[in-house]
């Protein structure tokens, strides 16, 4: 036991002392918010700087009219359509809309011409506009006054709530749960790959530098493997905790800076009251998310998933002499990780409680990523417990399996290894 601690300590210290660790630990929490901030900034800038576009209009119908907006300025052109088209193609205009004489019961033949193919939402926007104008016209024909028409217009925004078993209700925000799930699932995915391959690299390095034989004469190969896997894991956890703390600090600093600066919100067209309400709601949602639960589950699933895959990565490292040889064995390890990520996008975000989402979050090989993806949407306690128990069983199994391969592989040099050989090692007595 004492010796495993020594191995863990060495693995931990040699990695933490590296300059690359220091750089990654400090830079990542700075770079990520910076990239997100930059993208938000660029987006708002490009919105702001968008020029009013000119649209030619050939309107033969009295049913619809277009008014200039911030985005579009309309200019009537002379018909017929062919000459309008040729005027348009020679002009700088953004689009040409042709509206023939419309039958109110069956409006047909509206056309939209643009020099490049227009986005779906753009065309859909015009369709909606025309539809509502025609509907208004029909309603007027049916005898409604303009006042009555105005009164018909209502605006509804839906607030969604999560209702728990005990009857407490919490305001939920589909957007924020989506982001939490996305970030957590993806983070586990990255961690599994990054730290799993570190374990493999470490084992290959020990093998190629030929230190192994000295080490295994003092510790059992299994202890050596577990020590390495746990040592690298503790580096990962330390790094994650530092990131969280740093990001929390940066978040707080940025938040207080923005909070003191109301001019930006006003520039965005919000009254101070609106701004107050909105920021209160955001705060409420952030507070309502159960961060303790999410972070502790994250640590559990990271550790569990990492132990499960780390052991397999270690086994692959022990079987080969160079990283290039490792490629052939990577596929079966990477496949379930990639399936997890695809499952996250294809099933969990669509239907977090569906059958596929459920099974993917229960099976140990996919549960770390998929369960973290589901957590934000609310998962029944028994499912979490079942998934956690199976994950513990899963990594105990892979540690055992990997240990059997590791103890033989680590002492083999220059052997051509394939799956048959691995199976033989697995069965071989000590």
């Amino acid at each position: 036991m004492n010796k495993i601690l020594l191995v863990i300590q060495r693995e931990f210290m040699t990695r933490v002392k590296k300059k690359s660790f220091l750089l990654a630990t400090i830079l990542v929490p700075l770079i990520f918010p910076a990239i997100i901030g930059l993208m938000v900034y660029l987006k708002s800038e490009s919105e702001k700087n968008k020029e009013q576009e000119l649209i030619y209009l050939l309107n033969d119908s009295a049913l619809v009219t277009f008014e200039d907006s911030d985005r579009y300025k309309y200019e009537n052109v002379e018909g017929p359509l062919d000459s309008a088209k040729s005027t348009f193609s020679k002009s700088e205009a953004f689009a040409l809309i042709y509206i023939p004489e419309l039958d109110i019961e069956d409006p047909k033949g509206v056309a939209f011409y643009a020099k490049s193919s227009p986005g779906v939402t753009l065309v859909r926007g015009f369709e909606k506009d025309i539809e509502s104008q025609i509907r208004d016209r029909k309603l007027t024909l049916a005898g409604l006054s303009d006042d009555q028409l105005d009164q018909l217009k209502t605006s509804v925004s839906i607030s969604s709530f999560n209702l728990s078993d005990t009857g407490d209700e919490k305001k939920s925000d589909a957007k924020s749960t989506f982001w939490i799930s996305y970030v957590m699932g993806f983070l586990i995915y990255i961690f599994l790959f990054a730290y799993g391959s570190q374990v493999m690299q470490g084992v290959i390095e020990e093998k190629s530098s030929k230190i192994v034989e000295v080490i295994v004469s003092t510790v059992k190969p299994f202890q050596m493997m577990v020590g390495k896997v746990v040592g690298v894991a503790s580096v990962g956890i330390i790094q994650f905790v530092i990131w969280m703390v740093l990001m929390g600090v940066i978040w707080a600093v940025i938040g207080s800076l923005l909070g003191l600066d109301p001019s930006q919100a006003q520039a965005a067209g919000m009254t101070p009251e609106q701004q107050q309400i909105q920021s209160n709601e955001i705060l409420e949602i952030i507070q309502d998310v159960n961060w303790t639960q999410i972070i502790s589950l994250f640590l559990f699933y990271f550790l569990g998933g990492y132990l499960l895959y780390g052991a397999l990565f270690a086994a692959v490292g022990s079987a080969v002499d160079t990283p290039a040889d490792a490629q052939q064995f990577m596929m079966p390890i990477m496949l379930p990780i990639i399936i997890s990520l695809m499952g996250l996008f294809m099933f969990v975000f669509e239907d977090p409680d569906g059958t596929v989402s459920f099974w993917l979050s229960i099976i140990p090989f996919t549960s770390p990523i998929v369960m973290m993806g589901r957590i934000g949407f609310g998962v029944p306690a028994w499912e979490i417990v079942l998934s956690m128990v199976l994950l513990v069983g899963g990594f105990i199994f892979t540690l055992w399996l990997a240990g059997r391969i590791y103890r033989i592989g680590i002492l083999m040099h220059g052997t051509k290894v394939n799956y048959k050989v691995l199976a033989k090692w697995l069965m071989q007595k000590n």
């Binding site: 010796k3 020594l6 060495r10 040699t14 390095e205 020990e206 530098s209 030929k210 230190i211 034989e213 000295v214 080490i215 295994v216 004469s217 003092t218 510790v219 002492l411 040099h413 033989k424 071989q428 007595k429 000590n430």
Partner: protein, 307 residues
């Protein structure tokens, strides 16, 4: 009193037998040469003694006690395939390896530093291993093997990678360690170092032990009554008490013959007959070298082969 007793140890891998019923005793405070051609099973035996792998059958007694994990701190092992963590500093590395052998952090630091000073690499304590020359790295490995004062030191080709000066330095250290009470198992293919260092020798060939005993005994066993005779003029021809094996010119008008007396004969009869034939300048027994013994045994030839 033997420090290590190997009792009918067998080990086989799926397709071949690596050790077949091998027994040997390694006397305390000796240098014990473990010889054999490549693939004979030496490494397997060494790994079993180091508890890296387990024997299928047989047992090993260390100081009269069945070998167990407690003995790790009493054994030092320098494998033939050896290396160090390249990115670690010399000092960190020695302390780590010392701790794995059961030293405390303080003792490992202290003895590590003493040894580095002793072998003339004291200034390298804080340097990274990747900056070391091969010879220096070999010294570090040697220190890591002996720093915890093990009772049993297992050295597999300890001189490879050393220049003659440093090889001598290490040789002296090995002798000193033995004189201070350590028992050393020494595996090598370099027979001249076996001649120089070993007190006892055992040889494994094709997974079986084919030779075991003190070096003097073995040499005695392989004496075959042959003598080199240097003489002037004339010819030696086989007589009643001996047989002529070969003759050659060695310059200055001298010739040298290899003669062997027959089973019933003795050196005096041989000499008497020779004096009658030629003028003798020197008469010397041909003592078989370890090299000769090794080659003749491996080739399965009981007759000595001259190298």
């Amino acid at each position: 009193m033997s420090l290590l007793k190997v009792e009918s140890v067998s080990k086989s891998y799926s397709e071949h037998q690596a050790l077949a019923n091998v027994s040997m005793e390694i006397p305390a405070q000796t240098i014990f040469g473990l010889l054999g051609p490549n693939g004979a099973g030496k490494t397997t035996l060494i790994r079993i003694i180091n508890q890296i792998i387990e024997a299928d059958q047989g047992s090993i007694l260390f100081d009269g006690v069945p070998l167990n994990l407690e003995h790790i701190k009493n054994i030092g092992y320098l494998p033939e395939e050896r290396g160090l963590y390249k990115k670690m500093k010399v000092g960190e590395q020695l302390v780590y390896l010392g701790q794995l052998r059961g030293l405390s952090l303080r003792d490992a630091t202290k003895t590590g530093k003493e040894w580095c000073k002793k072998l003339g690499i004291g200034d390298w304590w804080g340097k990274k291993v990747e900056d070391l020359s091969k010879g220096m790295a070999q010294k570090i490995q040697f220190i890591a093997t002996v720093m915890h004062e093990p009772k049993l030191i297992i050295l597999d080709e300890p001189f490879s990678g050393f220049d003659p000066v440093n090889a001598n330095l290490i040789k002296d250290e090995i002798l000193e360690l033995r004189d201070k009470g350590a028992t050393i198992i020494f595996s090598t293919h370099r027979m001249e170092s076996v001649e120089q260092l070993c007190d006892h020798v055992a040889m494994i060939n094709k997974s079986e032990k084919i030779l075991d005993g003190s070096k003097a005994e073995i040499k005695e066993q392989f004496r075959d009554g042959s003598y080199y005779v240097e003489f002037k003029e004339g010819e030696i021809s086989s007589g009643s008490s001996f047989e002529l094996i070969s003759t050659e010119d060695i310059g200055r008008g001298l010739r040298r013959a290899l003669v062997q007396y027959s089973a019933e004969g003795n050196p005096n009869d041989l000499l008497k007959e020779l004096i009658g034939q030629v003028e003798i300048h020197s008469f010397v027994e041909r003592i078989p070298s370890m090299n000769d013994i090794f080659i003749s045994l491996v080739k399965g030839n009981p007759e000595l082969v001259e190298s």
